[in-house]
Symmetry: C2
DNA sequence: CCTAGCACTTTCTTTTTCACAGTGCTAATA
DNA sequence: TATTAGCACTGTGAAAAAGAAAGTGCTAGG
């Protein structure tokens, strides 16, 4: 159990380090608290003993440890009101009746990325949670057409396919078959159903049924496994701690990875509204913090995620995410 | 006019520098050519006088100048055969009957990026060259639906919109109106036509016509202006000359820029098959080279672009692009 | 329990030194 | 006349040395 003064000191160090990214010395603190630097130093030594602070070298100032950040987040962080500026900008988005609900989410995440210089991620439902809602085609010319697949969660994917020597009416019939027989199936399982339920039927009356079947099979087989949108990847470059190419590469690779959804998703619920995973607590990177919340509206459910350096402006991001989550859930049915 | 030996020297320097990214000294060259380093040095001085070579400092070896690369590309580069390995990998893609034509292009560019560590760009036709082919909707639930827009060039875009209190049949009627009256219009001009041709009609019989109109208006008004795909952005990180965060940031910003299409597109045709724009010759970045070719098939036309450091493996990229272009144009109608 | 004072440590920056790679020039040579 | 050997010179990069700055831990006294 920390004394009040220790808490005070830890808090100052965390906030100061977040602001300037420089180890914090005892002098800076004794200005704020009314006591000498020597006193602070012995307190800092105690906090280090507890694993809440770290030194970068024997005679450096202190830096919060991962445990230190965690303590701050759990016990010290005050729920800060959003700055008037942040508030205003977000409200403009949510009160813009021109914007569709969906765009509001995307726009607000984009705004968060811009304002904070962190990276945000919008995570829709996974493919196994999506079922086939409808498939349709648009013929472009004799040989080429576009197949459009829509899932019940409103996820859309399309593909350009070319089917020379296949009668367009056969294609249409096949589409009808799919729409009649397979709609409602989880996207994951569609290609399987195609093989066992559709293929045998079209084999009977379509000349080039092999070609036709393959085309549709591919559409579903390569269906993107996740509905995920990463916004502001390059922001990582703007932070002091990522000042060398290897680190930056490592993180950018993670962001680009198709698997990022699972990295974020694997995180077990902590139960509360907004979850914070610091450093090793998350699967993205030991040097990063992930702040995450989920939302649910009649139309859609998903997760909003903000990823930044451990030295992150926790208060602000939490306030922003809370605001957005609330607005999404309330305005979802406007 | 250069002497044969000067050409020889320039060529060696360009190739060597491309390989190792280190200024090339006279000793290295006199091994290859049978003469002393002093001779080479006076030749190098002459080439520098002509602006084809540069020094990094008074007593360094030589580095090709922009003009030097240009001379190499225009006069010295031999059309190299592709390596067996490159050839094989690409052929696998183009001979894979599973893959749709469209995917071949994307896959081969992806492969180029991976093999060369440069960035490639697939540039489809601009929005003003696309006309509306068809619009369709998929209702998701009472209030929400998806609008799908397809252009004659096979470009597809979709948008989730919510229209509470609007009768789905009114929406369908509106879609029919659009499909009957506006199909064939350049995408750019659709929102205008909506206003003057569709809006007055639906105003008569649709209660919430304002909402409905706005929704469709937005779909078209925000239609992506370019059909562009940038592959392997992060490859820039792998090159020696981009070893600091500012440079990397600058370039990555360019890649992310929605305007990248125009940066590449503005380039005036040089008339030949494959165009090379070195450093200041291109609009992307003075430190980069852009190699570009266009293709045209019955289904689609567009540009293939490879972007990398000026110190780029010109021979290889040209060979790769030539191969792909040829395969696209021949196999486009398979 | 707090604080003033001081010796000590590490980093960071600057300066010095040194070997190296490569140049330009000159005078001799084929 | 073109080439070459020889040599003085120059900028770079790495390593070593020196000094300043920031901050700590400890001790003794209030």
């Amino acid at each position: 159990m920390l004394t009040e003064r220790q808490k005070e000191i830890l808090k100052i160090i965390v906030l100061e380090y977040i602001k300037l990214a420089k180890p914090v010395g005892s002098n800076l603190i004794c200005d704020t608290l009314n006591c000498s630097s020597a006193t602070i130093r012995s307190e800092m030594a105690a906090l280090e003993e507890l694993g809440l602070l770290e030194k970068t070298h024997t005679s450096s100032g202190r830096v919060p440890s991962e445990k230190g950040y965690r303590y701050y987040v759990d016990n010290l962080m005050e729920i800060k009101k959003m700055s008037a500026e942040d508030m205003l900008k977000l409200q403009i988005i949510f009160h813009n009746n021109q914007l569709q609900f969906n765009d509001c989410v995307a726009e607000s995440l984009k705004l968060i990325s811009e304002m904070t210089n962190y990276t945000s991620i919008k995570l829709g439902s996974a493919s196994h949670e999506n079922t086939l809602k409808e498939i349709s085609i648009v013929p472009l010319n004799d040989d080429n057409l576009i197949v459009i697949v829509v899932t019940n969660m409103g996820y859309v994917e399309h593909k350009n396919i070319s089917l020379p020597n296949v009668d367009i009416n056969d294609v249409k019939k096949t589409v009808n078959l799919i729409n009649n027989m397979i709609v409602g199936t989880p996207i994951d399982e569609v290609s399987e159903k195609l093989e066992f339920e559709i293929k045998p039927i079209i084999a009977n009356y379509v000349e080039e049924h092999e070609k036709l079947y393959n085309a549709f099979y591919n559409v579903f087989n390569n269906f993107a496994s996740k509905n995920v949108d990463v916004i502001g990847k390059r922001n990582i470059l703007k932070h002091k701690e990522f000042d060398n190419i290897e680190k930056v590469s490592r993180i950018l690779d993670k962001f680009e990875d198709d698997n990022i959804a699972s990295l974020v998703d694997e995180i077990k619920e902590r139960g509360s509204d907004i979850n914070i995973y610091i450093g090793k607590e998350n699967n993205i990177d030991d040097d990063m913090t992930v702040i995450e919340t989920s939302y649910k509206t009649p139309q859609e459910e998903g997760k909003l995620v903000v990823v930044g350096p451990k030295r992150m402006d926790y208060d602000r991001v939490v306030a922003l995410l809370e605001f957005i989550k609330e607005n999404i859930e309330n305005q979802g049915d406007r």
